[in-house]
């Protein structure tokens, strides 16, 4: 038994990506459910209630620390794998197969992930970081619903958010299936259903997220 080996070999590093990735997928479900409360169109009442619970509940806040850690580990290990794998072929092919042998998004997880990281920096600096900073400073929670309403008036913000959601969708099409493959769960019997759920998830969740800034911008929600 060697715990270090479990996470440090080439498969071990992938195991880290897989487990943190699945945790982030669970986070997306919760995040999407909470934010979708805006679609009640009740002036943000239900949304603010849910956001207040998420922002103040002790257990949720503790899990949030884990989430931050797993997200950073996913980013660090992802970039590490990307660089490490690139170093395994010092002399590159003059002609490469490209999409003849594999789909572009399966080859581009590093780039898609880096774009998502840029989006996350923009996104958290608009909502999550100011909100927590205000709480820590003792000024209480910020009016997130009003902030969304304000931010999504600007077309360029909406465009960045929609692009972020499209990037997320492609990242998930590969990432969802890939995390189960790394855990060895994509057997002959289950691989079809895992892939189908993965593709459905990768379309539905980012689509719901993308609808939020669009709905605010077009005044569907007031």
């Amino acid at each position: 038994m060697n715990w270090k080996q479990a996470f440090s070999t080439s498969i071990g590093k992938k195991l880290q990506m897989s487990l943190t990735g699945l945790f982030l997928i669970l986070f997306l479900v919760v995040h999407c459910y909470i934010n979708a409360q805006i679609f009640w169109n009740d002036g943000g009442k239900k949304f603010e209630e849910a956001a207040h619970f998420m922002g103040t509940n002790f257990i949720i806040r503790t899990v949030e620390i884990g989430l931050t850690f797993f997200l950073l580990l996913h980013i660090f290990q992802g970039l590490n794998l990307w660089l490490r794998n690139r170093s395994k072929r010092s002399v590159r092919y003059a002609v490469s197969a490209g999409s003849e042998t594999s789909a572009w998004y399966r080859r581009s997880m590093g780039i898609l992930g880096s774009l998502l990281l840029i989006f996350l920096v923009i996104h958290t600096s608009k909502f999550w970081i100011p909100n927590r900073a205000s709480q820590i400073a003792g000024n209480g929670e910020l009016p997130l619903y009003e902030m969304m309403k304000h931010e999504f008036q600007y077309l360029w913000v909406v465009v960045i958010y929609v692009l972020g959601c499209i990037t997320l969708a492609w990242h998930l099409v590969h990432g969802f299936w890939s995390s189960f493959q790394t855990l060895g769960l994509t057997t002959h019997r289950y691989k079809g259903i895992i892939n189908a759920i993965g593709v459905a998830f990768a379309i539905i969740v980012p689509a719901i997220f993308a609808l939020m800034p669009i709905a605010f911008h077009l005044g569907w929600i007031s």
């Binding site: 038994m1 060697n2 080996q5 479990a6 070999t9 080439s10 498969i11 071990g12 590093k13 992938k14 195991l15 794998l81 490490r84 794998n85 170093s87 395994k88 072929r89 010092s90 002399v91 590159r92 092919y93 003059a94 002609v95 490469s96 197969a97 490209g98 003849e100 042998t101 594999s102 789909a103 399966r106 080859r107 997880m109 590969h174 299936w177 890939s178 493959q181 790394t182 855990l183 060895g184 769960l185 994509t186 057997t187 002959h188 691989k191």
Partner: protein, 256 residues
């Protein structure tokens, strides 16, 4: 299909040895028959080079019937050329037409260093096999064929995995230069059978450790290996290797 002859331009990788930087050389070949295999076309080229007093192109080949895994050319960006589940020796010139230009490179991965021109050193695969691709059997007379009952489905899966010829196309085609399809085929073929059971956990761990040591990359489940494998080894084997490896590590096998 009608037979025809063609003239071709070849851009072939020439490299003196492991230390040499290497470069592409352009050659012209004439009157190549559509009935020739790709390697026979290279034989014609080498005959021509010898007649001209030039050095022929070094390339690997052995059985020339698609079963040994020796031929290893990367043709126009594709391991073993553009045909599905085909080795280079079974790629035939009817794929090409008169006037085509074909780019031929060696397998490129740090774990497959170039020995000369298109010949690469694939002994890293041998060392991975030595690390765990074996079973313990008692010597003596061969046992009765049916003394060990094996389910038909498992026997078929093991056989499909055992079809791997160790050619290295998976690692050559993988954007990460990962050898996971090869290792997974070898682990699968033994893990599915009772004969492979005694070393099962050790095998998965030791072969993965050796694979890392040889300088292959990590699998990111891209699937180019499966698309290029001349023997149609499935990605399901990689899932099985992951299962075998994680099972071995977390259930506490010794690492010898």
């Amino acid at each position: 299909m009608e037979h025809y002859n063609m003239n071709l331009t070849l851009k072939v990788w020439k490299q003196k040895n492991n230390k040499d930087k290497g470069r592409f050389e352009t050659y012209k070949v004439k009157d190549i028959s559509s009935e020739m295999s790709f390697l026979e076309m290279f034989d014609v080229l080498n005959e021509q080079l010898i007649a001209e007093g030039k050095e022929p192109v070094a390339f690997d080949h052995d059985c020339r019937e698609g079963i040994c895994g020796m031929c290893s050319m990367h043709i126009d960006g594709r391991a073993h050329g553009p045909w599905h589940e085909t080795t280079t020796c079974q790629l035939h010139m009817r794929q090409y037409k008169d006037g085509d230009t074909i780019v031929v490179e060696p397998w490129r991965a740090n774990a497959f260093p170039v020995i000369k021109d298109l010949v690469t050193d694939r002994t890293s695969f041998d060392r991975i096999i030595q690390a765990g691709g074996y079973i313990s059997v008692n010597t003596g007379n061969a046992v009765d064929a049916n003394s060990l009952p094996i389910e038909k489905q498992k026997a078929d899966e093991a056989f499909a995995a055992a079809a791997c010829i160790g050619c290295g196309a998976c690692a050559a085609a993988c954007p990460n230069a990962s050898a996971m399809l090869f290792v997974s085929a070898k682990v699968s073929h033994l893990a599915l059978l009772p004969q492979g059971d005694p070393e099962r956990k050790m095998r998965a761990m030791n072969m993965v450790n050796q694979m890392d040591k040889e300088g292959f990359g990590s699998c990111t489940n891209i699937g180019a290996c499966e698309a290029e494998c001349p023997k149609g080894i499935s990605l399901e084997n990689i899932a099985r290797l992951n299962r075998e490896y994680l099972g071995a590590v977390f259930s506490g096998s010794s690492n010898e």
